[in-house]
């Protein structure tokens, strides 16, 4: 062995030591890092990384997994081979031997050591190498067959992830570089596994799986190239030409696909703008714009449907609109006059049948288009609501505040918002801290006061809502009296029609401001509740207004006007348009003006925030208008598209120019869920009910529209069914209609079945909730158990060392001469690791003795202190010896060199070690190593018993826990050691 390598090793030793000699938690951390480095797939296993103590449990499976070529040979082979190896391989750190053993199940020589030291192959017996190869190969085959039966991808990702986690952490810790070699072989194994799994997948799956690997690009590339080469070799072996062709084709397809993908990305609407908004204002503001875009898409779809199935047939049928009324300009606002005779409204559609290749009945077309559109809307809403509910709401734990810290950071913000965001987070954290304290201090009088304020504000807001509804109703009746049912209105009359929408929109703008004023006086315990209350009031208000309007339309307008559907359509058109104008005004006054006021006049107010909730409610309201109007004015979605499109840009500009990011942000994902739920529950269902009522029970106007002359719109279907009766092949449609759609029994049964299913699912979910509670409790209990056991272990350890000083006096006096030479540089840092080292040395002496079998005196050149204290051979000490051999030997060697004056470091260590024995302190790490040694100790003990060198130690036959066993082993070792004296 050459000197430099020894020096190097000592330096490495020192590195590890200095790292471990730091303060206690740090040490624990380091150790656990070490452990996790060797964890195989344990990283994702929650049971595993709970603690070091569970290492024992991990060991047994790992033994069965990694077939050791020496397992058959038993431990007898060990002593012969091991010293050879260690003497030839001094470069290994002190830790090289220890965890590795724990991972290979405590059997002799780990195979990875053999494989990862190609530098000194001289000592490596050939048969070892070959057996290693064979075993691993067999291992691959076996696991491959398992993977064939199981789900490959899930299996793989979990295992691979664990593996890579370990790898990543290992790379980051310099202390663990030493151990890297030890696990190299294992890494290679897993890599080959992975490659095989990937080869078996389809191309698309493979790419996805590779992408999902938590590896660096370099490693991914490596794996990919391996997979590809493997595949190409496989292919060329079997069918060259075909394989080449298919490879080529699939590659070109993939290129094409990726091109399409990038093209789609560039085409996507407002992508850059969205990024910009998200970057500057955070996710919650972004969610407004995403919602707006989503609604816009909805409207584009509905426009296409309506235009395609209603308007185009009408235009084909009758493309000469009644144009005796000139366009006056005001129509753009009122929607009356000229527009009345275009395809804009219900009234101008005919009830004829378009004869062509296929007969197209306008009546049926109109009805079915609207019906199908509504149903599709409903389904889309339900699905998007349910999915976002599932992912965002059910999983979310409302009571938790921990997310605030680690998860609330909006990684997308990049600019000025950041400083504010930090501020906000600080405030939020402070509040959440104070909240807990505050909650308990509320006296009953304060509670009463809060309750009173809440009650008052609710009463006030409700009365405001009712008052607004009533005033709208009276305004409508007033207008109703003034208006005449004539086709031509004067300009003034036409302008008067704008009064109602104007008032409605004004109310929509002003009243929410009052509501938000209320919330200033109320003291809700949480921000969330305040927002919910505000949203609820606003929703009630808008619902009330819409309800009043609809009541008016259904009851008064439907009787008075000859073509009442068109009149309602006009009214809705006006509402939509005026609402749009008010939205623009609102963003001007609400945001621009308050910005000016906030920055110039009253700086105290500051720059206004973008109120996401209010803005979202506004667009939800707008969308509801469009839904109600779809029956009366099929082309209303076109207006809506324009409206939303412009609104997007206006809001964006206003946001960028005037606003600051919201001070308090809710959780964006939950907000989106709430928006969708709101859109669905009161608003869409309300619109659906109104349209349904209109088609089902209101009498369509006599002289205009597609349904003229019918009792109700729905009777179109009845007529159609009657027609179908004459066609022989379609009796099943008639049957379905009569027995299912028109039969009460069917609906009765369906609703009962649905109720039962809902009840069952509800019960299941209740059961799951209970299960979750139980499981959580279990986790907590496990944690408690673990800490309890650890504590016990420590106590035991503390109670042990009382006997020690006596033993060590002897040794100390003997070793003193060497130590004294260098005592000035002796470090007095007390650490358990030193103890372990000593224990190992002691153990090693024993082992030496065992090897020489019966020789009373070990070879004196081996150790300086061999003659000093020769403990009785003990099983556990032997176990320690197995771990420590390498280290101890190199240390001894180091000692020789130190005497020759080569280096002082290791002697320092030794010195420190001797000193520390006097003041033994017990630290977990000792226990852990002992635990790792336990299994080996047991095997050794068997052998010892056979040799009758000492009476069989009392062995716990069936230990309940591995931990306790370890404790016993440790104690045993100690006792036997003491008995030697």
């Amino acid at each position: 062995m050459d000197v430099p390598s020894c020096v190097q090793q000592q330096q490495q030793t020192e590195e590890v030591w200095t790292a471990l000699l730091q303060d206690s938690p740090q040490q624990q951390g380091n150790l656990s890092a070490l452990m996790s480095t060797f964890s195989n797939q344990g990283f994702l296993n929650p049971a595993y990384h709970d603690s070091e103590t569970l290492e024992l449990d991990k060991r047994s499976p790992s033994r069965s997994r990694h077939t050791n070529p020496y397992a058959g040979g038993g431990s007898r082979v060990q002593p012969d081979v091991y010293p050879t190896e260690s003497s030839l391989d001094p470069g290994r750190g002190p830790w090289g031997g220890l965890p590795r053993q724990s991972w290979d199940g405590g059997h002799g020589i780990p195979m990875d050591l053999l494989s990862t030291h190609p530098g000194n192959p001289a000592w490596r017996p050939d048969h070892n190498h070959s057996s290693f190869q064979i075993t691993t190969e067999a291992h691959y085959q076996q696991s491959l067959s398992i993977q064939m039966t199981s789900l490959p991808s899930g299996n793989m990702t979990i295992r691979w992830r664990g593996h890579t986690m370990r790898r990543m952490f290992q790379n980051t810790d310099p202390n663990l570089q030493l151990a890297e070699n030890a696990i190299m072989a294992q890494v290679e194994n897993e890599e080959i596994h992975l490659v095989r799994e990937l080869v078996d997948m389809s191309t698309r799956d493979r790419i996805r799986a590779i992408r999902d690997l938590p590896l660096s690009f370099q490693e991914k590339k490596h794996i990919r190239s391996q997979v590809l080469s493997f595949m190409s070799s496989k292919k060329s072996r079997h069918f060259t030409c075909l394989g080449d062709c298919s490879e080529h084709v699939s590659r070109s397809f993939r290129r094409c696909g990726s091109n399409v993908r990038s093209a789609r990305q560039t085409l996507e609407l407002w992508q850059g703008t969205m990024k910009e908004i998200g970057g500057k204002f955070g996710t919650s503001v972004l969610s407004y714009f995403v919602f707006l875009k989503w609604l816009l898409m909805f409207n584009i779809f509905s426009f296409l449907v309506n235009f395609g199935f209603i308007t185009i047939p009408q235009l084909v049928l009758d493309h000469s609109p009644n144009t005796n009324i000139s366009f006056r300009g005001l129509e753009i606002l009122t929607g009356a006059g000229y527009f009345n005779y275009t395809v804009m409204y219900y009234g101008s559609y005919s009830n004829h049948t378009l004869f062509g290749a296929v007969n197209y009945e306008m009546q049926l077309g109109y009805f079915l288009t609207i019906a199908v559109y509504m149903v599709l809307c409903g389904i889309a809403l339900i699905f998007s609501m349910a999915s976002s509910f599932k992912s965002n709401y059910v999983l979310a734990d409302s009571s938790s505040g921990a997310w605030q810290l680690l998860c609330s950071w909006d990684f997308s913000i990049t600019e000025r918002a950041v400083r504010q965001r930090k501020n906000n987070l600080r405030i939020q954290l402070k509040e959440s801290l104070s909240e807990k304290a505050q909650r308990e201090q509320l006296t009953s009088s304060e509670k009463l006061q809060h309750f009173g304020i809440h009650l008052g504000s609710w009463l006030l807001s409700t009365s405001l809502t009712v008052g607004c509804g009533a005033s709208i109703y009276f305004l409508c009746s007033y207008e109703h009296q003034r208006m005449s049912d004539s086709s031509s209105w004067s300009l003034l009359q036409e302008a008067e029609t704008l009064l109602v929408p104007f008032v409605v929109s004004l109310m929509n703008m002003v009243v929410p401001l009052f509501f938000s004023l209320f919330s200033k006086f109320e003291h809700y315990s949480t921000q969330r509740r305040q927002i919910y209350a505000l949203v609820l009031r606003n929703v009630l208000f808008r619902m009330c207004i819409l309800g009043v309007l609809c009541y008016y339309w259904m009851n008064e307008v439907a009787i008075k006007y000859s073509c009442w559907e068109s009149v309602v359509g006009q009214a809705l058109y006006r509402l939509v348009l005026v609402d749009f104008i008010f939205l623009l005004l609102g963003s001007f006054f609400g945001e621009f003006l308050s910005n000016v006021v906030g920055t110039r006049l009253i700086p105290r107010l500051g720059v206004p925030e973008f109120d996401v909730a209010r803005n979202v409610l506004e667009i939800i309201y707008a969308q509801t208008l469009a839904w109600i109007g779809i029956y009366f004015s099929p082309l209303l979605p076109a207006i809506q598209i324009l409206k939303f499109f412009i609104l997007f840009y206006i809001k964006k500009v206003s946001l960028m120019q005037n606003c600051q990011p919201p001070r308090r942000t809710g959780r964006a994902a939950q907000m989106k869920t709430i928006f969708t739920a709101l859109l669905f529950f009161p608003f869409f269902l309300g619109a659906l009910a109104i349209v349904g009522y209109t088609t089902w029970s209101l009498r369509p106007s006599e002289h205009c529209g597609p349904f003229r002359g019918l009792n109700s719109t729905f009777s179109v279907v009845e007529e159609w069914i009657d027609d179908l009766r004459q066609i022989p092949g379609s009796s099943w449609v008639v049957f379905i209609y009569q027995k299912i759609i028109r039969s009460e029994v069917f609906y009765f049964l369906i609703s009962i079945i649905i109720l039962i299913i809902v009840y069952i699912f509800w019960q299941v979910s209740q059961g799951r909730k209970q299960l979750i509670v139980h499981l959580r409790q279990q986790i907590v209990n496990e944690g408690k158990d673990k800490s309890f056991l650890l504590e016990k272990l420590q106590n035991l350890q503390k109670s042990q060392p009382n006997q020690r000083p006596k033993q060590n006096n002897n040794r100390k006096s003997k070793t003193r001469p060497h130590a004294e030479d260098l005592s000035s540089s002796g470090s007095s840092n007390s650490n358990a690791m030193v103890q372990v080292l000593l224990a190992r040395q002691r153990a090693e002496e024993e082992e030496e003795r065992l090897r020489t079998r019966g020789l009373p005196d070990p070879p004196p050149h081996q150790h300086l202190y061999d003659t000093s204290d020769m403990p009785q051979s003990s099983s556990s000490a032997l176990a320690l010896a197995m771990q420590a051999r390498q280290r101890a030997e190199s240390q001894t060697r180091g000692e020789y060199y130190s005497r020759a004056g080569f280096t002082e470091n290791h002697v320092n260590y030794r010195h420190a070690a001797e000193e520390d024995v006097n003041s033994p302190t017990s630290v977990n790490s000792v226990m852990m190593q002992v635990m790792q040694a336990r299994q080996q100790a047991e095997e050794e003990e068997e052998e010892l018993k056979r040799m009758k060198r000492l009476p069989a130690a009392p062995q716990n036959p069936a230990p309940s826990s591995a931990l306790i066993q370890a404790m016993l082993a440790r104690q045993q070792a100690q006792n036997e050691y003491d008995d030697g004296y």
């Binding site: 999983l395 921990a402 954290l429 801290l433």
Partner: protein
């Protein structure tokens, strides 16, 4: 097209495409960004994959990272040497994980690493304290920071070992649906 040919070979681009969440164009754009950071260091021609590393100090000047409180940690985590010197591969890797398309699980793994300041594969109190200080500009008093950390521990640490393991972290993340929204490109 000419530009594409000189920067990367088709093979390289395909490898990038298969291993990251980026398209061809985005890879080229990323290369542009990478080159912007140190024009004298990074050549236009990457066909022979030169071994070039840009130090942390330059990377954190990118607008995407400039304001991020964890920028140093992010860059460190994704650099191969752990000190923040990133090769182009590391650079692509970082943005691939941070981009929208990458799955949540992947992000969770890396987020855990980012929060794990002392790299002991646990988020312990010290890690949390550092995170809090970074997130709040260091304006909370020491006691408040400790309080916050204690609260977080209390809520997130299921097994009671006073540090957050990966499963604890994962569990917590699963309750926070809008975690790690993406940045960039």
């Amino acid at each position: 097209m000419g530009n594409k040919q000189t920067t990367f070979t088709d093979e390289q681009l395909e490898a990038f495409q298969d291993c990251t969440f980026f398209t061809r164009k985005e890879i080229l754009r990323l290369h542009g960004r990478y080159r912007e950071l140190a024009p004298h260091l990074v050549p236009l021609d990457f066909t022979n994959s030169p071994d070039i590393r840009i130090p942390l100090a330059l990377i954190v000047t990118m607008p995407e990272l400039k304001e991020n409180p964890f920028r140093d940690r992010i860059v460190e985590t994704f650099s191969e040497d752990g000190d923040g010197n990133q090769s182009f591969n590391d650079f692509v890797d970082m943005f691939s994980v941070l981009c929208e398309a990458s799955p949540r699980d992947l992000k969770t793994i890396y987020a855990f690493k980012i929060y794990d300041y002392n790299r002991d594969s646990f988020i312990c109190k010290e890690d949390l304290q550092q995170a809090v200080v970074k997130l709040t500009k260091g304006e909370l008093s020491a006691e408040e920071v400790t309080l916050v950390c204690e609260k977080v521990m209390e809520e997130a640490d299921l097994d009671g070992d006073a540090k957050l393991s990966f499963s604890d972290f994962e569990n917590m993340i699963s309750k926070a649906p809008d975690f790690l929204r993406s940045a960039l490109v």
